[in-house]
Amino acid sequence: MSGRVIVITSGKGGVGKTTTSANIGTALAKAGNKVVLIDTDIGLRNLDLLLGLENRIVYTIVDVVEERCKLKQALVKDKKNPNLSLLAAAQTRDKSAVTQEQLKEICETLKKDNDFILVDCPAGIEQGFQNAIAGASEAIVVTTPEMSAIRDADRIIGLLSAREEIESYKLLLNRVRPNLIATNDMMSVEDVVELLACDLIGIIPEDTGIISSTNKGDPIVNDEKSLAGQAYRNVARRIMGEEVEFLNLEEDKNFFGKIKNFFEKTIKDIKAKI
C-alpha cells in the first residue's frame, strides 16, 4: 500500500485549516480508509482538541523525531473510528524541533500502511509551512471569501506551484455565506475561483454547528443533518476520486423563487421515491 500525503494549508490563520483537517480525515476514515492526521503546528497544537483526543496523547511528533518512542506508539487512535489516528504536535517546543527531512521520513513510513496522511499545516509561510509541505505530493489550500485570506492563499498557491514535489493543489472555500453573497456584500465562489485561478475541491457554508462540534470535540461530519458536514463529506468523496456536484448554497432571492425551489425539491423527492 502506498498512501497519499495531502497537506492542508492556507497562509492566513483562522480560516479553518485544523477544522478542515479534522473533518476530511474523519470523513475519509468513515468511508473505510486508513487515515493518519499529522499536526505540524508545534507549540500551538489544536487538532487533538477538535478530535476530542487531548487527554489521550502520551507521545508527540517531537518524541518520535528525538527517538523517545516508536512512530506507532505516538499514533493516537480516534474514539469512534479505529481507522483514524492522530500524530500530535508537541505543545512545549517550537517549529525548529522537527526538520523537513524528518517529516518527510515520517510521511514515507506512514505511507506504507495507510491510505491517506493528512498534514495540518501551521499558519504562515515560514519554517513550519516548509516542514509541513516537505513530505506531501498534494495540497488543499483553505481560504474564505475575504480579502486577506484570498491574498494569503494566492501567496501559498504561488509557493506550491513552484514546488515540483506537489503534483496537485486544490482550493477549499470555507465559511461561505450565501445570504451575504445574495446581497452582493461578499464575493461569490466564482469570483474567488477566478481571482485565484485554482480548481475547487469544496465549498463549505458557514455553520454555527462548527462551534458546538469543536466544543464537544466531535467533528461536524459525524452530524448527518449538518450542511457543513455534508459539504465536508463531499470533499472526502472528491478526494477519493468520485465526481460529486457542489452543494447549491445560493437561495433564490424572491418569493416566487422560493416557491419554485420548494416545488422543484418536492418533485425531485417524489421522483426519487418512485
Binding site: M147, I150, R151, N184, S188
Partner: protein, 172 residues
C-alpha cells in the same frame, strides 16, 4: 384610480426581487481591489512603476495613432500559469505618414538633447565627484529601448484589426 396604482405598485414591489446594484456593490469593490493587489503581489510591480509604464506606452503609441488617453486600460490577466499584460487602446484615428514622420523627428530630436545632457552630466561627474545620476539615466535609456521593441510588436498586430479597440497582449 391613483389608489389602485399605488396599491398595485406596493404589491408589485413586494414580489419584485430586491434590487442590488452590480457595479458599486461591496463585492465588486473587494473584487477589483483584490485583483489589483494580487497582480502586484504576483509580478512585484508597484503602482508607481505601472503608472510610469502606462505613461511611456502612451507617449510611444501617440507617435503613430491618436488615442484616447483616458480610456487606455492596462491590466494583468491570469491565463493558467501565465500572467498576460492586456492593453486596451481606444484609437481615435490613425496618423498619416507625414504626422508620423514629424513625431518621429521630434522624438529623435528630444532624445538627441537628452543624450547630449547625459554626456554633459557624465563629463561633469567625471570632473567632480562620482555621481549616481548619470548611471540612473543610462539605465532609464536601456529600459526605454526595451519597451520600444515590445510595443513595436504590438503595433504590427494593431494594423491587422485597426477597426476595433485593440487588445494586444504581451506575456511578462
Amino acid at each position: 384610480m391613483s389608489f389602485f396604482t399605488s396599491f398595485y405598485n406596493k404589491v408589485f414591489s413586494f414580489f419584485k426581487p430586491q434590487e442590488v446594484s452590480e457595479d458599486n456593490s461591496v463585492k465588486e469593490v473587494a473584487r477589483s481591489r483584490l485583483k489589483l493587489v494580487l497582480m502586484q503581489d504576483r509580478t512585484n510591480l508597484t503602482p508607481k512603476i505601472l503608472e510610469q509604464m502606462r505613461g511611456e506606452l502612451i507617449d510611444l503609441l501617440s507617435k503613430y495613432v491618436e488615442l484616447d488617453k483616458d480610456l487606455l486600460e492596462l491590466n494583468f490577466e491570469q491565463e493558467g500559469d501565465q500572467v498576460a499584460l492586456m492593453l486596451s487602446i481606444p484609437v481615435i484615428r490613425a496618423k498619416d505618414e507625414k504626422e508620423i514622420e514629424e513625431a518621429l523627428k521630434k522624438d529623435a530630436l528630444l532624445k538627441g538633447i537628452k543624450l547630449a545632457d547625459d554626456d554633459e552630466e557624465e563629463e561633469s561627474a567625471e570632473s567632480e565627484t562620482a555621481d549616481d545620476e548619470s548611471e540612473d539615466n543610462t539605465a532609464d535609456d536601456n529600459n526605454e529601448e526595451e519597451s520600444t521593441e515590445s510595443v513595436e510588436e504590438e503595433n504590427s498586430s494593431e494594423e491587422h484589426n485597426s477597426d476595433n479597440q485593440e487588445n494586444t497582449a504581451e506575456t511578462v
